[in-house]
């Protein structure tokens, strides 16, 4: 692996050089938090930020996305292909985007997602310390880069180490002056940063994440779901902020003449009461407990079965936004304890 070295003093100039021809997104401060919004004229992203409110997913899968412009005889799909760059993506979110690529790319591919995604270059940033108390990326194996990436930066103090993962990434460095090949001392700095970093992150799951699918498979009838369901507000905050949630609703907007308009998709959530309700009023997950369970099973089991990738990347956003403190770490650990206790009991019975 060869790295290049970009002095921090050059970063803003680099960002400026990307403006022509790209829409730029990155973590921007707003009301004391950060969001991946469009970087305006004269603005620069924050490279060192705690986790963003919404994940960078919102750029490639906007909360409200036009699918069609319709009018009698003139209905056209709205495919957005303008080149964009997302700067400053944490590694957990990189893993989440890798899952999104699979969900929207496989089976019947979703051209709307793909058009936007293919026109987007991802620039990651290595996390050197936990972004919030809720992060459990180390347990979920997302503390380092996924296989595929475009560009990735690691903070070395005065400089960034730049790792190039794709031609798309390479292309962004095209006109950049002041970039040099990493030397031995740089590799030394990088190694140090990485090994110091590792120790700063706690393992927060009491078991190995690879056991998660089987743990959840045996926990389907756990009484924990009832308890969580009683507390859950069914507010959908957890799923709205999740970088791996992909569910959506489709709505039409029409003009007052009732002929022309737009069809849009908007984020939806399995935690909401009507999500699985069909005509006639039958709701396939009428209880909050069933909905909370569905969410955690989707995160820890179903997505893994379908794509071989975990449906939770340990970003901790859901934990941070849940007013009744329903968190993946607590939930998974509680289920694990239940299993250990159950096993201990049956061992006792057996002996």
């Amino acid at each position: 692996m060869t790295f290049q070295i970009l002095p921090k003093a050059r970063v803003n100039g680099w960002v400026d050089s990307l403006r022509p021809g790209h829409r730029l997104y990155g973590p921007m401060p707003a009301d004391g938090a950060f969001g991946f919004s469009e970087i305006g004229e004269g603005q620069f992203p924050s490279w060192d930020y705690p986790t963003s409110l919404l994940p960078p997913k919102r750029v490639v899968l906007p909360p409200r996305e036009k699918l069609l412009d319709f009018a009698p005889g003139k209905t056209r799909p709205a495919l957005e292909k303008g080149p964009a760059v997302i700067l400053g993506i944490h590694t957990c979110d990189m893993h989440a985007l890798a899952l999104l690529d699979r969900v929207y790319g496989e089976g019947v591919p979703d051209q709307h997602y793909l058009a936007r995604r293919e026109a987007t270059t991802l620039v990651g940033i290595e996390c050197l310390r936990p972004c919030t108390e809720h992060a459990f990326c180390k347990s979920m194996g997302t503390l380092t880069l996924p296989e595929k990436f475009d560009l990735h930066l690691t903070d070395l103090g005065e400089d960034y180490a730049v790792d190039v993962g794709s031609e798309k990434g390479e292309a962004l460095l095209g006109g950049l002056g002041g970039l040099r090949k990493a030397e031995n001392t740089d590799y030394g700095r990088l190694d140090r940063a990485m090994s110091e970093k590792w120790a700063r992150f706690p393992y927060r799951l009491d078991f190995d994440a690879s056991e998660l699918p089987s743990l959840l498979a045996t926990s389907y009838r756990s009484d924990l779901w009832e308890k969580l369901g009683e507390r859950c507000l069914a507010c959908s905050s957890c799923t709205m902020v999740c970088p791996t949630c992909t569910c959506f609703d489709v709505v039409d907007e029409v003009d007052f003449a009732l002929t022309a308009g737009q069809r849009c998709r908007v984020w939806d959530s399995c935690q909401l009461g009507m999500f699985a309700t069909v005509v006639g009023g039958h709701n396939f997950r009428s209880q909050r407990a069933a909905r909370v369970r569905h969410r955690f099973l989707r995160k820890g089991k179903y997505q893994h079965e379908a794509y071989g990738l975990m449906g939770c990347v340990g970003c901790g956003r859901c934990a941070q936004s849940c007013l009744v403190h329903i968190t993946p770490v607590d939930t998974f650990n509680a289920l694990y304890r239940q299993r250990v206790e159950a096993e201990a009991q049956s061992a006792e019975v057996a002996s």
Binding site: L54, R231, L233, A234, S236, S237, V241, F256, A257, V324
Partner: protein
Amino acid sequence: MTAPNGAKPKVAFFDFASCEGCQLTVVDALQTHLGLLDAVEIVQFREAMSERADDYQIAFIEGSCTRAVDEERLKAIRGRAQLVIALGACAHMGGVNAGRISQSLEAVRGYVYGAKAGTIDTGPVRPIGSVIPVDGYIPGCPIDREEFARSVTALLQGRMPSLPDYPVCAECRLHENVCVFQNGKACLGPVTRAGCGAICPTYHAGCEGCRGLAPGANLPSLRSVLAEHGLDARAADDSLRLFLSAELAEHEA
């Protein structure tokens, strides 16, 4: 909407006990949606016009019913209109007017009108839906102008306006608001029906519940969240009482 031979549907606006802020928001909606005026024919809108016709298909009603005369007038409107739509919190669930249901009528009258209280004609505060059948609701205090425009579109398409069935928190997330609980304020968003674009939290205030309870609202859990953030039972009641008095009475019954 069925107007005779494809003509524009005729709509009329009426107000009862209210601040008329919802009608004002209708005027706002006309500012941003000039096409509205082409799509419908307004035949009665006392706040903005003198002309008055009693031939209409859609009646938008603002305000609560508080008097016997209101009841008669409501029934007359119901008799003429094909569709009756409750406009705003006062019509939908009593709104702030319902805040007085915890006090006796005599006490309320006496406090405001003193010795002359006896001459004041007023009764209990009622949402219009408990006086006449209502076909659709546009909640909020005031109503949201976009929702009003969407509702008119729905009516023109011959269907009832549909309301979000999820709580305000969902919209807060989509707007990337920092939850006001994190800044030490209380919020009723987790139990309140969305559709306002989480406007109060967006402006850094807690949701006051003006759109009514979301279906399946988990009130006991909300109360424990409020308690965790320093609101004792009385303070929690105070905040729920601003708009939700009538709904809570119903919910708890």
